[in-house]
């Protein structure tokens, strides 16, 4: 384990500032709060449940919108609940999809119990074994610029396991009305008429 771990809010802020046309799925819990802290946005779809589903929403979105970059930001606990999805995603090879796992090795919203990641599960190695085009562990501030650049422009599917501090950040909550989140996303992406389909 490295001595210093990254600040999750700073990592997400770096990924989402000047986000351009990026489409974002945020996994439930701290990852969603991090994305909201970076600026609530209609083209960020934060999950409040359906744990383990974040990456699969990213895949469905990436297949539907092949010209747009799609980013899934989620935590290690959420990722562990849907590991099979990494095999499903790799089989589709979506060039526009990136997954960033903010790995604090804890179930941060549920009592800070250690996740399998703390016991040695190497999430990036799992993604590599599934066939991701790139799967890396990010530990240092110096790597963040390259991470941002890849998420916004490299050919995917990409997977980054970002080792972050288990420190809790202040709660910054997105809207939790699912119908509202769905509608604002579709309206911003597809236009008013298509969103009302």
């Amino acid at each position: 384990m490295s001595e210093t771990k990254l600040d999750r809010r700073e990592v997400v802020r770096a990924l989402l500032e000047r986000r351009g046309e990026l489409l974002v799925i945020a996994g439930l819990g701290s990852s969603a709060w991090d994305c909201t802290a970076a600026g609530d946005h209609p083209l960020t779809f934060p999950l409040w449940g359906a744990m383990g589903s974040a990456c699969m929403l990213g895949l469905g979105l990436a297949l539907a919108q092949p010209r747009r970059r799609v980013l899934v930001v989620t935590g290690d606990g959420e990722m562990l609940m849907g590991l099979g999805g990494l095999a499903t995603i790799a089989a589709q090879r979506p060039g526009n999809l990136s997954i960033v796992v903010l790995d604090n090795e804890r179930y941060g919203e549920l009592g800070m119990q250690r996740t399998h990641s703390a016991y040695g599960t190497a999430l990036a190695a799992v993604a590599a074994g599934c066939g991701f085009a790139r799967a890396e562990v990010v530990r240092a501030t110096a790597q963040i610029a390259a991470l941002r650049s890849s998420v916004h422009s490299s050919k995917g599917p990409l997977f980054y396991q970002v080792k972050v501090s288990p420190d809790s950040a202040p709660l910054v909550l997105p809207p939790r009305d699912g119908a509202h989140l769905r509608h604002r996303f579709r309206e911003a992406l597809l236009g008013t008429k298509a969103a009302a389909e």
Binding site: L57, G60, R182, R186, L190
Partner: protein, 178 residues
């Protein structure tokens, strides 16, 4: 493929219903009862087929597809319905359409006792998680039933499951593949 669809070729009728409702993403956990439909979707250039490792992945996929402006369908066997329960919060909370076509086991002449509990629980589990149910028991009803289900899902913003009866699929025996 423009070949004529026999009235009794119910997988082809389902495929035609999916086409008519612009379904573009077809996810599945294989089932022998879905074999022909999966193959029809795989050779259809207007459809992307997505094999899943477990059924609930298909609910997240369908949600993401709809956010991106595409329609999806999830094909599975009744044994997979139990895997989907928590993910069904996505259509329930977000008004995200979900169309599922479920081939039934554990009901009509089932030979494998391990299929019976989940098969018998399937309609109740789906209803308890907020999904609507249509039954398909006769080959000649396949087109109309899946068209009706697609309307209910995509125009009614509902989670809808078409349960394809085991009698229609054909009862298996130990002498055949499971």
């Amino acid at each position: 493929m423009q070949r004529k669809i026999s009235e009794l070729d119910w997988p082809a009728a389902i495929h035609r219903a999916l086409k008519s409702h612009k379904v573009r993403q077809v996810s599945y956990v294989p089932d022998a009862g879905h074999k022909r439909l999966i193959e029809l979707c795989q050779i259809d250039k207007g459809m992307k087929t997505v094999p899943l490792t477990t059924e609930e992945e298909g609910i997240g996929l369908a949600a993401g597809a709809w956010l991106g402006g595409e329609r999806a369908v999830l094909l599975m066997q009744s044994s997979g319905v139990g895997n989907c329960v928590n993910a069904l919060t996505l259509p329930a909370n977000c008004g995200l359409p979900l169309l599922m076509i479920v081939t039934m086991r554990g009901e009509w002449g089932e030979y494998n006792p391990w299929q019976i509990p989940m098969g018998q629980a399937t309609p109740n589990v789906l209803r308890a998680a907020g999904a609507r149910i249509l039954r398909l028991e006769r080959a000649e009803d396949a087109l109309d039933t899946v068209v009706a289900a697609a309307k209910l899902a995509f125009e009614g913003y509902a989670a809808v499951a078409v349960l394809v009866g085991q009698r229609l699929i054909g009862t298996k025996s130990f002498a055949e593949k499971p």
